[in-house]
Point group: C2
Chain length 324, copies 2
């Protein structure tokens, strides 16, 4: 079994060896650029760990691990255009460094590269892997569109929100694990249980993200604390507050979200005070814990030794305890 | 064997039955919209005819025919954003009717749909079909990037131009035929000959497009005659003119392409006069004929009866004789 450090090194080594060369240069260079910006590489790690749950031979899972990482980076390229994001992991986004057309097109090409990499899985698992990959790719598009729709939608229910983060974020974690499981020789039932593990974990992970945006340590949190508040983003905390607030807090929330000219620090402070008063952090943490527990229950149903499950449990715990 | 009318009806029927339903609506509706705008449906027809060259049973080729049509429409969605095109087949483009973000995302989703459809080919041909499809998808991205690069590139050689139209347009015709051939049971050698037939035909087709832009009948030509001239597009006619022009014509060409404030009719007239003087229409037609002949030579090498080849020859001739 790989240690976390060995796993991390294995993935980084594969990324270094990734063949993203081609002509014209301004199509392929942005692909190499976005992939080289780093990140936690959670998805490719999940492919390898999904495989390692069933076999010690994880080599056949490496191209698929690179496939999901390329796919993830393709979604980042296009999402950053849609969000007009100037920075990605502290560096200029592709549409800023080059231009929007190049970001669209190198994103498209990176998606094709992802499928080409996925086709390197063992032939016996090709149809299974491609099937879950395609369904997931469509879900991710649906989730991104829902996320954009929510920006202008008057009301969003908590179940609608959970469904959106499930599609936008969680299913790709599930798919990464399931693809790894197929390559490792898992039967459908176990591969599906692992998918659900990833999906629930992904929802918990995203709820954690919502909490960290408000309550994260400014010194270790990668993004601006309160960024979601300033952007009026309909996070779990805001939606829950709107649900449980009384008339007075509702008015304050609405006032702040409708005011265009404000002092950012004051807005963050005022809305955080309402969150504190309504105790939505606790409610969000309870929801997060619920999905985390569900995830672990799915993992528990898979009939392999506890020893084999250790790495996945460790990674899951780490994702939940993260501060960035 | 299908008559041209039967083939056309078969394709339209499949398009009507195409499952592009899903939620959210503003992700899936643009996908249905772009596909419903029509067009000649050349690519799906080529898939079916590629199959029919080797077998009478073309049913298994229909999902793949839809796959290439969806892929083609995905490229139109993204190309129209990059070209800031207001109209597509006389109707508002998706980024105009909805917005750019929706056009990016529904394009991405349409690409995924294309792969899902392609996965419905008979299992024995899946890897072959996906391999040629992915390689082609990457080439189409490369071709589009080269086309954009040429807009600002000081000089473009004729071989560079031919390579660009090969990648942007021709390879997808080749791939459509090759995928059909695989499904029809062709051996690699014949499938590859058919690919080359499509590739050469595609180059001839695009050269024809360049000629029609200047010399097309305004009453039957779908686009504005002289549109490429007004846009300073580096077509075969312009590049050839720049190559063969003497000092005086070079100066006139450069003057017109550098002037921002001009009378459109005058510009078209002046540049067309230079084309006429330099006889580049004839040179372009000769180049087109050369590729058309090469295409037919590739088709000739395939060891099936003349009767079986008739439909493809007919379609090829029709593409060359088109006025729109």
């Amino acid at each position: 079994m790989l240690t976390p450090t060995q796993l991390s090194q294995l993935i980084e080594q594969e990324i270094t060896q990734l063949d993203l060369k081609g002509k014209p240069d301004n199509l392929y260079q942005p692909m190499r650029y976005i992939v080289s910006l780093g990140g936690k590489r959670t998805r490719p790690q999940l492919v390898v760990l999904g495989c390692e749950l069933f076999t010690d031979n994880v080599q056949p899972a490496l191209p698929a691990a690179m496939a999901v990482e390329c796919f993830h980076n393709f979604t980042l390229l296009h999402d950053d255009i849609m969000d007009i994001a100037p920075l990605r992991r502290g560096n200029p986004t592709v549409h800023e460094k080059w231009n929007t057309n190049i970001a669209i097109l190198s994103g498209d090409a990176l998606f094709v590269k992802a499928i080409q990499l996925l086709m390197q899985v063992p032939n016996t698992t090709l149809i299974q892997c491609l099937t879950v990959f395609n369904a997931t790719a469509l879900h991710v598009c649906e989730g991104q569109q829902l996320d954009m729709n929510f920006e202008t939608q008057a009301t969003v229910s908590i179940p609608q929100y959970i469904n959106m983060i499930r599609l936008k974020t969680a299913v790709l974690l599930g798919a990464s694990l399931k693809i790894g499981a197929y390559i490792g020789g898992a039967v459908e039932e176990d591969a599906e249980a692992l998918y659900k593990f990833g999906e629930y974990l992904g929802i918990a992970f995203q709820l954690q993200d919502d909490i960290l945006d408000v309550y994260g340590n400014p010194e270790t949190f990668g993004k601006q604390v309160g960024g979601d508040i300033l952007a009026n983003k309909k996070t779990y905390l805001l939606l829950k507050s709107l649900q449980v607030a009384h008339k007075y807090q509702l008015e304050v929330l609405q006032q702040w979200t409708q005011t265009i000219d404000y002092n950012p620090t004051e807005k963050i402070k005022a809305i955080t005070e309402i969150y504190d008063y309504l105790n939505v952090r606790k409610l969000a943490e309870a929801e997060m814990e619920m999905y985390y527990t569900k995830a672990l229950q799915c993992l528990a149903t898979i009939p392999v030794s506890q020893e084999r499950k250790h790495s996945l449990q460790q990674l899951a715990a780490q994702l939940m305890l993260r501060t960035q």
